[in-house]
Amino acid sequence: MIKVEAIIRQERFNDVKNALATAGFPGLTTYEVKGRGRQMGYTLTFRGKEQQIDLLPKMKIELVIKEEDLDKVIELIRQKAFTGNIGDGKIFTYRIDEVIRVRTGEKGENAL
């Protein structure tokens, strides 16, 4: 099993989330983060004082999937999260050893 961590624009989040459910990947966990990448932030002026904001709010989505679905999921996220501007986000993947469903105790892919 593989864990996919996608860090995307907040305003693209609903579309990504809905598309994943439609494509058969309901299971996910998500939270707000702040991030910095090539997009080094911007400058705000409060009361005449410039402030360098280098951390921008993003949405992080974590979903654990079967290895065979990896390409499909990545493609789907990319498509829905894409705007073409700097700051569109990144996807990281890594292998998971085990999954357990708390309610039933099921393990492995059955527990997804």
């Binding site: 409060f46 009361r47 005449g48 904001i53």
Partner: protein, 407 residues
Amino acid sequence: MQIDSGDTAFVLLCAALVMIMTPGVGFFYGGLVRRKNVLAIMMQCFISLALVSVMWILWGYSFSFGPDKGGFIGGLSWLGLSGVGGAPNPDYSSTIPHLAYAIFQAMFAVITVALITGSFADRMKFGAFLIFILLWSTLVYDPLAHWVWGSGGWLKELGALDFAGGTVVHINAGMAALAASLIIGKRRGYGRDPMIPHNIPLVMLGTVLLWFGWFGFNAGSAITCGAISTTAFVVTNTAAATAALTWCCIDWIRKGTPSVIGACTGAVAGLVAITPAAGYVSPLSSIAIGIGAGIFCYLAVLFKVRRGFDDALDVWAVHGVGGMWGALATGIFANIAVNSAGSSGLLFGNPIQLGYQAVGVVAAAAYSFVVTFIILKVVDKVMGLRVATVDEAVGLDIAQHQEEAYS
């Protein structure tokens, strides 16, 4: 002299409105600071209300308004409000209980201290702050109030006009804030780490309570309720509105967009500037005063940023400069046709009034700056003004009050 129930109701309820301005300042400032310091500044404002209220009963009112000593300060005869009771006082309040006047004035002493806290936000020791209040309110506020409003006060005798406290409250607080920011130094990380307002709805709440309470502040300063209080009410609202719009326009030109914080700041600047003029000018003049407030205070903020002193929440730029503009504007726009107990300003044929106003501005600004400077230097020597570096990094809420604002 008989007590008028309408006038008394008005002044008491105005006192309640002014009371709510002090926590209003706390919310305004609290929203502007980082999340880790919001409680500390709200606490400073709240404790100003508590401590100055008690001091005022014990000695503050007597020092400020008690029988005159040489034009400089009031005497001791009204300590503990002895002799200040239900009967009117011919000098201050001929239609309401003397005690009502005293409590109305108490709220002004309270808020002036609270205004200063914005300058040393995020880095002042709470203990040192308490000592500062005690000294400052007694040595700076009380004399200045006496000069301007006390029967026999030298600025009052001179003929300087200050309807509701442009000099006593705003120039005073603004110059004290300037002195404080110079002595305590910049916030740790100033200019490097982001210092973003953490809760703008809270800023809005504070602004709203200020605007609301300011009706009491300015209209109540008529100490009766009739044509003068009505004028004061109308010009207060108009100047606040105009200055808010002005600030938004400048923001729009400079930054490409108006902001909520800008609109709020502008409104406060307008409220400050109209304060000394409130009972003396017409609604149309108040539009001019509001525009001036927006422009001058905006420029003052830019000046501060350029000079690099860290008056954290712009007390000097908004209250100091706004108060000065208002005091001078009173000397320009005052019109005896509006208030026969006042006098006219430059535009209405009495240029000397502008001179009197200038004297008031200079005297108040100098006195406040110098004495505040001395007080803070002494307190700093004796106990230190500033929290430890790690406490500043962790945030004052936890470091000083063992509390977190949100959880």
